[in-house]
């Protein structure tokens, strides 16, 4: 076997994986999006941009798009701030640091569906431990306790917080790596130059971490924008579509509602948005790297 052949053989599993699990479904989705495919129907006609025109006019699509943006922006803002603080706290050695790091990483390691089911119980309208504690502390009367997943604003906040709980560990690990790449003389020099904590943080540490923060942000946006597990398990998009995001709407329309074509069109709508985000973030990372 020549080197060339060996190379091709070694390379083949990766190519096959991408073609079968990513390429094929993607092409299929594109094809469906321009057709009138439905579950239970054998008819298949290309209808051009009809599906896109129809979803753009649909109020639930607009609502889902808006929710997706709110969900992503809020979740990422919280994740970046929290993971920056956590990475600072975990940077210096202290007793049991290894254990704390492990505990913090757990939400990311645990299967997302399991974690979310746990949260569903924590936020349940009857059995919620949070509500129980709040009542016990006399913040609420038993009959007027908040319905975490039942009121539109609270439901959105719950979905965002659970998603943050899941993403913060991942982001923290990336940030820790980024921080440890800054030579320790740099913050020391800043402290001797007279900079206090905030100046060092905002003028030295964060600018030097820009490339790594953009990577964490890019991954975070992609994970958040495309996530449907948290939404689907916690609220299934409700109440009144108030937590419906694009992926969950695509699933509800295409699979549960049998309209494959519309579902495909909704999910395709994510592609240009994510490509634009990726391009923009990589540019920021690149620019920060070459300064």
């Amino acid at each position: 076997m020549t080197n060339r052949q060996l190379g091709a053989v070694m390379f083949a599993p990766a190519v096959l994986f991408i073609i079968l699990l990513i390429g094929f479904p993607f092409v299929l989705a594109v094809l469906y999006a321009f057709s009138d495919a439905r579950i239970g129907s054998t008819g298949f006609h290309l209808v051009g941009l009809e599906n896109f025109r129809s979803i753009l006019q649909s109020p639930s699509f607009r609502k889902a798009l808006q929710n997706s943006i709110v969900f992503t922006v809020c979740a990422q803002a919280i994740v970046i701030v929290c993971s920056t603080i956590l990475s600072m706290a975990l940077e210096k050695p202290f007793r049991a640091r290894g254990l704390v790091r492990l505990l913090i990483l757990l939400p990311w390691v645990a299967p997302v569906s399991l974690g979310t089911i746990g949260w569903k119980w924590i936020l349940d309208s009857i059995y919620s431990v949070i509500t129980w504690v709040l009542i016990w502390l006399h913040f609420y009367k038993p009959y007027s306790a908040p319905m975490w997943l039942g009121e539109p604003r609270l439901a959105m906040a719950s979905v965002i917080l659970v998603h943050c709980w899941r993403l913060i560990p991942f982001s923290t690990v990336i940030m820790l790596a980024g921080r440890s790449a800054i030579p320790k003389e740099i913050p020391e020099a800043a402290s001797i130059d007279g900079a206090g904590f905030w100046r060092t943080l905002f003028h030295i540490t964060i600018p030097m971490m820009t490339p790594i923060i953009s990577v964490a942000l890019l991954f975070g946006i992609v994970f958040t924008f495309t996530d449907m597990t948290v939404v689907y398990i916690l609220t299934a998009g409700g109440p009144f579509d108030s937590t419906q995001t694009l992926p969950s709407l695509a699933f509800a329309t295409g699979v549960q509602g049998s309209d494959l074509a519309a579902g495909a069109a909704i999910s395709l709508f994510l592609v240009p948005v994510l490509v634009a985000v990726a391009y923009f973030m990589l540019r920021v990372a690149h620019r920060a790297e070459v300064v």
Binding site: E188, A189, I192, D193, H203
Partner: protein
């Protein structure tokens, strides 16, 4: 300007272990260039970092300008430090690097440009202000680091091996510039190095450190000619001082004082038969590695350093009469390894 003083300063990193710095007491003089010299692990950098406020002492006091500063943060100590790696802020331009201390100390904005230009002018980097650190050479980075240090006119300069990242040629010129620079600003400076040539050339006084303990403080001449113990005697000088042991005494003499006997007429001296084993030709001088023949010191290895002006003929394998003037002998106690008084010695 200010005087830096340490009193019984100690730093123990791990409880139960030997301290990195042990009971160091020293004081600079006003406007002095004081060098901390020692091999790696001698505690010189830790000592400097404690003075800077980057390490907390385990015990002891640090005084700057007569005031105890143990509890003060680095920025309250009015010091400036140049790091071995220079620690320039990579995302800021040279101008903003130099201006950073001014901004951090809330110097009025309209003064920034004048001060930055003054500092940059002093170090000849006025044309580099728009560049980023990665676009600079090693020597230029070092100057930016110095400019950043002087721009707010600190009371004390702390320099941590600032020349060790430069190549040999640049280091020599940077050394000279640094000396000129110190003369022109006259600020009290503490300079850490493991390079004895740098220490001898630049220091008004040298603090020789070993295993966290001060072995000697003195002018370059003092520490070279009158070492306080055998460590200082062998650490300073290249090749190091020859040491020969006999009963309870160690006798030392510099390789350049161990010369052909006929070059030492008149003066009282001690003679040896010396067999040359190996010769290093270094241009301006020759270094002879050999051993003594006969006497108590049979086959004791001794190094001699001859200037290029001396006659040739000291080749490997040849045997000669060599001698050292009695005034060039240094005596050390064998037990404590500290300096001892000269005494009559049974040489043969």
């Amino acid at each position: 300007m200010a005087v830096v003083e340490t009193r019984n300063l100690t730093k123990v990193f791990k409880e139960g272990e030997l301290g990195a710095v042990n009971k160091v007491s020293l004081a600079t003089r006003e406007g002095e260039f004081l060098v901390f010299l020692g091999p790696s692990g001698s505690g010189k950098t830790t000592l400097l970092r404690m003075i800077a406020g980057l390490e907390t002492p385990t015990s002891g006091e640090i005084l700057i300008g007569g005031q105890v500063v143990n509890h003060l943060t680095p920025r309250e100590r009015r010091i400036a430090m140049v790091f071995q790696s220079y620690a320039l802020y990579p995302h800021l331009s040279v101008y903003n690097n130099i201006a950073f201390p001014l901004k951090a100390q809330k110097v009025p904005r309209e003064q920034h440009r004048t001060k930055v230009e003054w500092a940059a002018g002093l170090l000849g980097i006025g044309k580099l202000l728009g560049r980023k650190p990665r676009e600079l050479s090693g020597g230029e980075r070092q100057r930016v680091a110095l400019a950043r240090a002087i721009v707010r006119e600190p009371a004390v300069f702390l320099l941590d091996e600032p020349l060790s990242n430069l190549d040999a040629k640049l280091r020599a010129s940077a050394r000279e510039e640094l000396e000129q620079f110190h003369k022109s600003v006259g600020t009290t400076t503490i300079y850490v190095t493991h390079d004895q040539v740098e220490a001898m050339a630049m220091g008004d006084r040298i603090v020789v450190l070993h295993q966290g303990v001060v072995r000697q403080i003195g002018t370059p001449k003092d520490v070279y000619e009158d070492p306080a113990d055998t460590f200082v005697a062998t650490f300073l000088g290249s090749p190091p001082m020859n040491l020969v042991e006999f009963s309870d005494v160690i006798v030392g003499f510099r390789p350049e004082s161990f010369l052909p006997a006929d070059l030492l007429p008149g003066a009282k001296h001690v003679r040896f038969r010396y067999k040359v084993n190996y010769v290093e030709y270094l241009g301006a001088e020759r270094v002879l590695y050999g051993a003594i023949e006969g006497s108590h010191f049979e086959s004791k290895e001794i190094i001699s350093r001859l200037s290029w002006t001396m006659p040739a003929g000291y080749d490997a394998g040849s045997v000669h009469d060599f001698a050292v003037a009695e005034s060039d002998l240094r005596f050390f106690d064998r037990k404590t390894e500290k300096r001892a008084d000269p005494r009559p010695y049974p040489w043969q």
